[in-house]
């Protein structure tokens, strides 16, 4: 019995769904960012799994690009969260309704 590509993709799909659940249910903006992190991780697992099962390193190159981009995105997202804290004094996404119509 071996572990095929389908097993890795299923693992990534479950991880993606858990991250999505976190994004939908969390109220805190930092919590939402953590959910996004989980979803991005699932995508990275998919990329590496496809690369390995096709014996093609280009998929892994993609992952070396996505990881730094994700880290930069998180750093900027947290910077925005801290800035919102300074001006609005809240971390709860529901309270950030200045754009409501």
């Amino acid at each position: 019995m071996t572990v095929g590509l389908g097993a890795y993709l299923t693992l990534a799909a479950v991880l993606f769904a858990i991250g999505f659940f976190g994004v939908v249910t969390r109220r805190n903006t930092i919590g939402i960012l953590l959910g996004i992190e989980l979803m991005l991780n699932a995508v990275n697992i998919n990329l590496v799994a496809f690369a390995r099962f096709n014996a093609d390193v280009v998929g892994m190159i993609f992952t070396t690009f996505t990881i730094p981009i994700t880290v930069a995105e998180v750093a900027l997202g947290l910077a925005i969260v801290i800035l919102i804290f300074r001006t609005k004094r809240t971390a709860i996404a529901d309270h950030l309704d200045i754009l409501r119509g």
């Binding site: 693992l11 479950v14 993606f16 880290v71």
Partner: protein, 164 residues
């Protein structure tokens, strides 16, 4: 053969368990620590997929960098607000329905797909191959990535500037 199966299932249980803890824990700080665990487990999955270089990058950038930044953000925002950040989760039911529908759709798609079971043999050293392809075929995106990181650094500095 059997070792591969045991490793995969162990990592899967660790990864999914810690991911569930990330989204379900009440305390945000514990949530970040579980995120560190799940990111480390992801590095283990990369190792199981013969991607040693990516496992190292994952540990350095994610488990090292991201977790540190998030902990910093929590500490700073807690001090600003003056009270502990507790997680009040929104309607759990909506989340379960939406995430479950997404998962079912993905799994149905996976079931219908014709996926390889045996992994082909990679003759060369994967890390060496990544380095060679990265600095020949993908050198332009690689340099653009450096520009992106510079812009991200400047943007973070702009956001974090002291108030006038």
């Amino acid at each position: 053969m059997t070792l591969e199966v045991v490793t995969f299932w162990g990592l899967s249980v660790l990864l999914i368990g810690s991911a569930l803890a990330v989204v379900l824990t009440k305390n945000l700080f514990h949530s970040v620590l579980y995120l560190a665990l799940s990111l480390t487990a992801t590095a283990g999955v990369f190792l199981a997929l013969d991607a040693e270089f990516l496992a190292a990058v994952q540990l350095l950038l994610y488990a090292g960098g991201v977790v540190t930044i998030v902990v910093f953000a929590i500490v700073v925002t807690e001090r600003l607000v003056g009270e502990r950040i507790t997680q009040t989760s929104r309607s759990i039911l909506t989340g379960v329905v939406l995430a479950g529908a997404l998962l079912l759709g993905l799994l149905r798609f996976l079931r219908g797909a014709d996926l390889p079971v045996e992994r082909p043999v990679i003759g060369v050293d994967v890390t060496r191959a990544i380095g060679q392809v990265l600095l020949t075929e993908f050198v332009l995106p690689f340099e653009l990535l450096a520009v992106l990181l510079l812009v991200g650094l400047l943007g973070a500095l702009y956001f974090a500037r002291p108030e006038e």
